[in-house]
Amino acid sequence: MANYNVQITNGVGSQAMKNGNYAVSVTANGYDATTLQPTTYTAAQGGAGAFTLRANGTLTLTFNETGEEGGAPITSGTVVMTDGTGTTHYGQPVAIGANGEAVFNNVPFSAETPYVLYFTQLETDEAHNIHVGVITVNMNAATLTQYVLNSPLAEQSFTLTDETYTGLPVAAATLAFTGE
């Protein structure tokens, strides 16, 4: 029975193989090779095999008003893993907690060749501006924290005066603004 090493690039690969049964193992940057599923494969003309791997890195994205450690955090929102364009979403959105943190478990990492991951913020709280664009993370350690800027909303100033007696300020009133 022949042996084959099949290169996988961006999740796909192919190989001409003799029909038959094979045991399967893997080497993969950023992933735990012992988690490969399945570990057997039956080759045939036109055969197709779908395999999965798991990683064990932990990434914490912290959203705050400075984009650096110590900034005042936002209090809610969501963020999702994406491709480099932010178009394709991977997995479910993760909630941003009251401390501004969103934790992604089981992400790939590599100290030698950092695994580049991308994220897009979907929501922020009512007092901050959302991060626009893709968030890029170089996952080079098993545990990593990265800070993301959500600037506070700009303060707006208003005046309310009497229409008939120009310039006479209205003593007390409430302006109600309803969002679209």
Binding site: Y4, I8, G11, V12, A16, N21, V26, A43
Partner: protein
């Protein structure tokens, strides 16, 4: 004489989808269909000399085989028939995907290593 025979078919080394046909000795079709379970139970009413059982595994990696079973001379009403898969020869292109189990993210770079006989 018409007799009812219960046929138990076991697939080895493991259960794989297969297309099963059973014909009488004269060629009359008694059963035809895909089976997926590790054991198949059939009831056959026949007074003919025997049955021809053909198993065609869905995967082209395995060969088709036919067997003859003499039903009318069966001493008992239950026949046990064991089918053993045999790999077919040949070479073909196989396509693979490898994705992150938690996020569905395509694995950037990896090498899948195929070797030896798989475990049963």
């Amino acid at each position: 004489m018409i007799m009812t025979v219960r046929i138990v078919i076991g697939f080895f080394p493991k259960s794989l989808p297969a297309f099963l046909t059973i014909r009488s000795y004269s060629g009359r079709l008694l059963f035809s269909g895909q089976v997926n379970s590790s054991r198949v139970f059939l009831r056959v009413n026949t007074c003919e000399r025997g049955l021809v059982i053909t198993v065609r595994p869905i995967s082209s990696a395995y060969t088709q085989k036919s067997y003859y079973i003499d039903v009318c001379s069966a001493a008992c009403r239950t026949l046990y028939f064991y089918y053993s898969y045999a790999p077919s020869s040949g070479t073909g292109v196989n396509n693979f995907t490898l994705i992150d189990a938690d996020y569905g993210l395509p694995v950037e770079s990896a090498t899948l290593i195929f070797g030896g006989e798989a475990l049963a």
